[in-house]
């Protein structure tokens, strides 16, 4: 490597790294931005980064590039995102994200993401839920995979670039990115002032436990859907890292807001997602009008089909936001017993048809092959000729670690401020699904890839600014502090290895997951939630009596690792269920039939949960607060649960009428001449 591949980033001989935990989109984007700011990184990931859950994102990424001449703009994107989220998200971060989106998609294009193209060779865009505009760029139906690969490649390039010290000399053996793959996050290392100085992590190949110093730590560890047992998520999404950080003082926000995706394939191990893009390209949801319809879906004539979403929501049709679509599907199957009839079982199953058989095979092959292939492989039926059978499944957590932002005078975010993406634990940052910031009470489809990338783009400069100004380096602290943290973690792990109780941790997790899935998702009732909370306590109590299924030392031990994840999942389950119990209103994904209205006077506020260490039992272990005091680089900050709705005024959320989601909600509502203005 010549000097052109080396850049200055470190003082004297010490390489003062920042730790990024998680190698999905948010983590990788954070790493890239840190490297570009001359900050060397330790990238710690539970799996080889190329196998992160971001690969599962199918449909696309939103950006108001307006290449279709519809009059779309970042302002419309902001309005529809705020409205789609039922006004629970602070609006300046949404504005900053939507303004940046066209540039982000263009950057991905430059990185070589094979986005679909128009005949002119421009990026193609399709429709997604909660909008009437073509705003979603896509690479077939495996967009997340393709974007993850592009970022993975860029980070791999940084793995080959040398660290230089401040005199421009190469530091021998030190590369800008050092990857620790197959490492599990165990805990933060906090100094006596509560400032985050590193992490303790475990090498899953050898189970060796190590303390890592870091000038700052960024968690980009994804969502917690595995708390619900089966979901659309990868099995690694236990939320363990966010849970552990919360138990060490990080505030957790809006935990009760969990997105249920309307269309997934039921399965024994996983509920596989069938992307919203299927409906974006014209797929239609229906059930037979006849409750005892015996013909296979493809033989049911048009007149005998009930396109219930199109009928009830003529404006947005099959592309109503996910919370609404899921509730309608649930109502159809669960309450009205109108799911697809199975003559063999004599039951109306919890399934509706998702139909693309009327669409041209060539369009399906070019734009949706990846997802239709999943249906074919796992359901064993050809979706090109048979309507698919689907049901809702837990998909995404809007809630997560609380993070801050610095508001600009123009109502956006001050990029470069160390407050952006900062948790209330000084030196700890968070980006991606593990934090709560961008989606309010319901996320719009194709906004998650965007929020992951934008979160990373903001976190990188924020952390670089923090590192530049931090009063004391982690490398100036006594090594005894790190050794102590390492030893504590080793003792805890040894204790797990010695657990000989009669509870099987996998079976216990299954019990927890079933309760959460059945009673704490689409419809929530307080009496049921009380039972859920009692069940969580029961599982928590029994989890202290598990028998570790594998007591092997010094080599990969998934059984012992799982016990740790289970304990952390129980903490997250409490945050979801207790948050849901407390919030007596309906907003976005959180729906209580007994409190069917949104109550802005009482509940237009962020749920802020603080862990009470040492407490036993539900009511003691979470403290809900209305404000949060923390300090960053020595300066005190006070945050409250008030939501900044200064940019889009809250109003009733209705998708029956076309264009209701924004002021200029109809494509073509503005004259084509003004729609063609350059974005800037």
């Amino acid at each position: 490597m010549g000097s052109d591949t080396s850049r200055a980033r470190s003082d004297s001989t010490r390489v003062r790294r920042v730790i990024v935990v998680g190698g999905g989109l948010a983590g990788l984007m954070t790493v890239i931005r840190l490297c570009e700011a001359d900050v060397p990184v330790d990238l710690v990931s539970l799996v080889p980064v190329k196998r992160s859950h971001s690969v599962c994102a199918q449909g696309g990424i939103n950006a108001s590039v307006n290449t279709k001449g519809e009059g779309d703009s970042p302002q419309v994107h902001l309005e529809e995102t705020a409205y789609g989220g039922d006004f629970l998200a602070n609006q300046p971060p949404i504005k900053a994200m939507c303004d940046a989106a066209p540039g982000i998609v263009e950057m991905l294009d430059r990185m070589g993401v094979p986005f679909n193209r128009t005949p002119e060779g421009l990026l193609d865009f399709r429709r997604f839920g909660g909008s009437l505009f073509h705003r979603t760029a896509f690479a077939g139906a495996t967009t997340g995979q393709q974007i993850l690969y592009a970022l993975d490649e860029q980070v791999r390039r940084w793995e080959t670039i040398d660290v230089e010290n401040d005199r421009g000399e190469r530091v021998p053996g030190e590369k800008m990115v050092r990857k620790l793959e197959w490492w599990d996050f165990l805990s933060l290392i906090l100094d006596d002032d509560g400032i985050c100085r590193g992490i303790v992590a475990q090498d899953l190949k050898t189970m060796a436990i190590r303390a890592l110093r870091g000038e700052a730590v960024c968690l980009a560890t994804g969502g917690p859907a595995i708390v619900f047992g089966r979901s659309t998520n990868s099995v690694i999404n236990t939320g363990t890292a966010a849970s552990a950080a919360h138990q060490q003082g990080a505030c957790y926000a809006n935990g009760e807001f969990v997105q249920v995706h309307p269309t997934a394939i039921p399965g024994a191990d996983k509920l596989r997602l069938i992307s919203e893009s299927v409906r974006g390209e014209g797929g239609r949801v229906w059930v037979p009008r006849d409750r005892r319809e015996q013909r296979p879906g493809r033989d049911v004539p048009e007149s005998a089909r009930d396109y219930f979403l199109e009928e009830k929501y003529p404006g947005y049709g099959n592309l109503v936001p996910r919370d609404i679509a899921s509730r309608e599907l649930f109502r159809k199957c669960f309450h009205d017993k109108r799911g697809v009839y199975d003559a063999k079982s004599g039951n109306n199953e919890n399934e509706v048809y998702l139909d693309v058989t009327h669409l041209p095979a060539d369009l399906l092959r070019k734009k949706l092959a990846g997802v239709l292939e999943i249906y074919e492989k796992f359901a064993g039926e050809d979706p090109y000729t048979n309507p698919m059978r689907v049901f809702p499944a837990v998909h995404y957590s809007m809630g997560g670690l609380w993070v801050d932002y610095e508001r600009s005078a123009a109502g956006s975010v001050v990029v470069g401020s160390p407050r952006n993406q900062a948790t209330n634990v000084p030196g700890l940052y968070a980006a991606g699904e593990c934090e709560y910031q961008y989606h309010g009470a319901n996320r719009l489809g194709a906004n998650s890839l965007l929020s992951c990338l934008w979160g990373g783009m903001v976190a990188g400069p924020a952390i670089a600014a923090y590192r530049r100004n931090v009063a004391k380096s982690a490398w100036d602290l006594p090594s005894s502090m790190f050794e102590k943290a390492e030893k504590r973690a080793a003792r805890e792990f040894d204790a797990v290895l010695g657990m000989e109780g009669d509870e099987n941790p996998y079976a216990l997790h299954q019990e927890l997951g079933e309760t959460m899935l059945v009673d704490c998702t689409i419809e929530r009732h307080n009496a049921t939630l009380d039972r859920v909370l009692a069940k969580i306590e029961e599982v928590a109590e029994r989890s202290s009596r598990v028998g570790v299924t594998d007591s092997a030392k010094g080599k990969m031990n998934q059984g012992a690792q799982y016990v740790r994840h289970l304990k952390n999942m129980i903490v997250l389950a409490r945050l979801v269920a207790q948050g849901a119990r407390n919030r007596d209103e309906s907003r976005g994904a959180h729906y209580k039939p007994d409190f069917a209205q949104r109550e802005d006077a009482d509940w237009l506020r962020t749920t802020l949960a603080i862990h009470v260490p040492g407490a036993t039992g539900m009511h003691d272990s979470i403290r809900y607060v209305r404000s949060l005091d923390y300090s960053i680089l020595g300066a005190p900050v006070r945050a409250t649960d008030e939501v900044d709705v200064s940019l889009v005024k809250p109003r009733a959320r209705k998708y029956e009428t076309a264009g209701a989601a924004s002021a200029t909600g109809n494509p073509g509502a503005v004259p084509a001449s003004s729609a063609n203005t350059e974005k800037d």
Binding site: V47, R51, G112, E181, A379
Partner: protein
């Protein structure tokens, strides 16, 4: 009566330890795949002989055949275990046989270390040399037909099926394997990637490079994403030959 799925698993307690076989029976469920069978073992880790053992260790993540993690040898064929549906691979109660991939070192049981594949991506410079992630406007225009080719190549999950199936990838050779050669083709097709095409070609010329392909064509058969690996190897081979013969003229 409760149907049972029979599994025969090749196990290994750690790197460079001897391997051994164990058999398990787990309750059948509808739509069951190999992963859910392995999950049943976790809930009740007892062999068919009634012996309590540590559950089988394997790697998995997405469970929908886009991450590549859960690759193993199932009934003699390398593939992802998530998309191996029990009713199809073992009809009428036949036994499902699971082995770790043989071209990589075993970490434990069915988990292997594929870091050599990621190292190969460094060697071939499988990336676009980006000026930076700041805003620089849109990327180069590309035709729909070019996108169809690049998308098909870009779906490689680095799962290792093609290496496992390739007779040229073995203990006695340093052949880099089909996956990374195909990515050389991908990046050399991209309008900006092409600007560094020669560096990637240099990386697959010489020992362990594209010339060592024995044209068995097993790779394309084994690839779960139907990536045209043989075409990629031919295309990169042609470019490499051109560069070898005429490259000096351009210096």
């Amino acid at each position: 009566m409760q149907k049972t799925v029979k599994l025969r698993v090749k196990r290994q307690d750690g790197p460079s330890q001897p391997s051994y076989w164990q058999e398990f029976g787990v309750p059948w469920q509808p739509h069951m795949n190999v992963i859910s069978a392995l999950m049943e073992i976790q809930k009740n880790p007892v062999t068919s002989a009634g012996k309590r053992v540590p559950p089988v260790v394997w790697e998995c993540s997405c469970l929908e055949e886009v991450c590549g993690a859960c690759t193993m040898i199932i009934n003699g064929r390398v593939r992802q275990s998530c998309s191996a549906m029990v009713d199809r691979i073992a009809p009428n109660g036949r036994t499902v046989t699971l082995e770790p991939m043989s071209k990589f070192s075993v970490v434990r049981d069915l988990v292997v270390d594929r870091s050599s594949m990621f190292d190969a991506l460094k060697r071939v410079r499988a990336w676009i040399d980006l000026d930076g992630s700041h805003e620089l406007g849109p990327g180069p225009r590309q035709s729909q037909s070019d996108q169809e080719v690049t998308y098909s190549l870009s779906r490689c999950m680095t799962c290792g099926c093609c290496l496992e199936a390739c007779p040229q990838v073995n203990g006695g050779s340093s052949f880099i394997g089909p996956a990374s050669i195909s990515l050389v083709r991908l990046y050399n097709l991209h309008p900006s990637g092409r600007m560094h095409a020669d560096e990637r070609l240099d990386a697959v010329m010489g020992a362990g490079g594209v010339e060592e392909c024995g044209k068995a064509q097993n790779c394309v058969e084994a690839c779960p994403k139907e990536i045209p690996l043989v075409d990629s190897i031919s295309a990169v081979g042609r470019e490499a030959t051109k560069r070898m013969l005429f490259g000096w003229l351009l210096k």
